[in-house]
């Protein structure tokens, strides 16, 4: 059997994640919808943040959903790519920042 874990059609199942815990699921969706809708930040800004997070988190469903949303909002391809670079830079910075622990240990242990 050659069935991938991730299937595009599973994105359609996202609204059903309320199954087995409907109250919590509904609370999540209230929160999700409020957090991703226009507030003090615009829908465009929030969509770019979501796209960056989606790529950092390697979520194929979110990448699909938010690439489409960014296109729908007329966001340029280079703007989307810049947002992805913010995510990439944060991951790189986060990795390198953790080298601090390594450097501290090295300095303590070496003669």
């Amino acid at each position: 059997m050659n069935q991938p874990y991730y299937e595009q059609k599973d994105l359609d199942d996202f609204p059903n994640i309320t199954e087995f815990a409907p109250e919590l699921g509904e609370k999540f969706f209230d929160y999700y919808n409020t957090a991703t809708s226009a507030g003090k930040l615009s829908e465009r800004e929030k969509s770019l943040i979501a796209l960056a997070v989606a790529t950092v988190r390697h979520c194929p469903y979110c990448i699909d959903a938010f690439t489409n949303k960014c296109l729908s909002l007329g966001i340029d391809n280079d703007e989307m790519m810049e947002a992805v670079h913010v995510g990439a830079a944060m991951v790189a910075g986060d990795t390198l920042a953790h080298a601090t622990q390594m450097r501290k240990i090295i300095k303590k242990k070496e003669m």
């Binding site: 829908e43 296109l71 729908s72 909002l73 007329g74």
Partner: protein, 328 residues
């Protein structure tokens, strides 16, 4: 639609309407008379559902145009919507706009704007202004690259030039009473986003980077027919696009679709529920007269609308129409 992804019964537009209590879809009035007066156009855009282009020859006859002017006098008809092709290329456009303007009704002309730069047609800017004609210009995207992908290289810059001329004539300027609206449609296999968010971006970019101004942005979802359908098929996007439209079905839009208050007249005088049905050769049905010479307001104002699965394009998300989103 002529060809699309195979559908289960439950996925059809008719079934979706049944489920939300809107079947059969019925007209409630005829407030807008939309006239598609020619298929001829100086452009051949990739998204054009009527497949207009320089080589098309269909033109509404003067006799049929005159009959439309007579029909438009009906007191319930408040908007005259003149489209094409490029309506400016119709030989009787000057006469038509003068006649319609005299009625005191809202008269709008859908323009690709580029045509107004051509010497043969540039006089129409003053003609439209003098008659207070509302201009709805097609600008698929506020960025040149995406817009030109649909309409051809260099067209975006020409649209900016045409908008400057229109602005100079008062169009899109505050308090001039001359309305210049723009039409957005996605340059690909996805749906338009929030109309207000897109309008804000259009206004920001066009004013700051090009010093041009307009009144309102109308968002239109691409309808899977004509040249756009060919694009969907050739790019392997048809099934996905249809599924996206179906998933985005919004029952709130079903009562507000424009066909419920519109009659669309083809170049040959035949009557349709909308411009999309016109392309699909689906004339008005259910016993209503289907020609402008047999126009009967009372029958048309309560006709059943001919629906097909391409109608999903008008009910997706915030809804879609020739005058933009149907819900906020």
């Amino acid at each position: 639609m002529t060809e699309s992804a195979k559908l289960d019964n439950k996925d059809t537009f008719a079934e979706q309407l049944r489920q939300c209590g809107s079947y059969p879809l019925k007209a409630i009035a005829v407030n807008t008379l939309q006239m598609n007066i020619t298929r001829k156009c100086n452009l051949a855009c990739k998204h054009c559902h009527v497949q207009a282009g320089p080589h098309r020859t269909e033109m509404m006859s003067l006799e049929t145009v005159s009959q439309c002017v007579k029909v438009a006098q009906h007191p319930s008809i408040t908007t005259i919507d003149i489209t094409g092709g490029s309506p400016e290329m119709h030989p009787d456009i000057d006469w038509l706009v003068s006649q319609m303007a005299q009625s005191g009704k809202r008269v709008l002309v859908r323009s690709n704007l580029v045509i107004l730069l051509e010497p043969e047609y540039s006089h129409l800017i003053d003609k439209f202004a003098k008659n207070k004609i509302e201009i709805v210009g097609s600008l698929p995207d506020y960025r040149a690259q995406r817009s030109d992908r649909q309409r051809g290289n260099g067209i975006y810059d020409k649209i900016m030039e045409a908008m400057r001329l229109l602005n100079k004539a008062g169009y899109g300027r505050p308090d001039s009473g001359l309305l210049l609206d723009l039409m957005h449609n996605p340059a690909g296999a996805y749906l338009p986003g929030s109309q207000s968010a897109l309008e804000a971006e259009y206004k920001r970019v066009l004013s700051q980077e090009h010093n041009v101004f307009f009144n309102t942005l109308f968002c239109l979802a691409n309808c899977p027919i004509g040249r756009y359908l060919e694009y969907l098929k050739n790019s392997g996007n048809l099934d996905d696009y249809m599924q996206t439209l179906r998933k985005a079905f919004n029952p709130q839009t079903a009562q507000k679709v424009m066909c419920r208050t519109t009659v669309s007249v083809g170049w040959d005088g035949k009557l349709y529920d909308c411009d999309f049905n016109q392309v699909e050769n689906l004339s008005v049905n259910s016993g209503s007269p289907d020609h402008i010479f047999t126009f009967n307001y009372n029958l048309l104002a309560r006709r059943n609308i001919e629906i097909r699965d391409h109608c999903f394009a008008c009910t997706a998300g915030s809804g879609s129409s020739c005058c933009g989103s149907l819900t906020v």
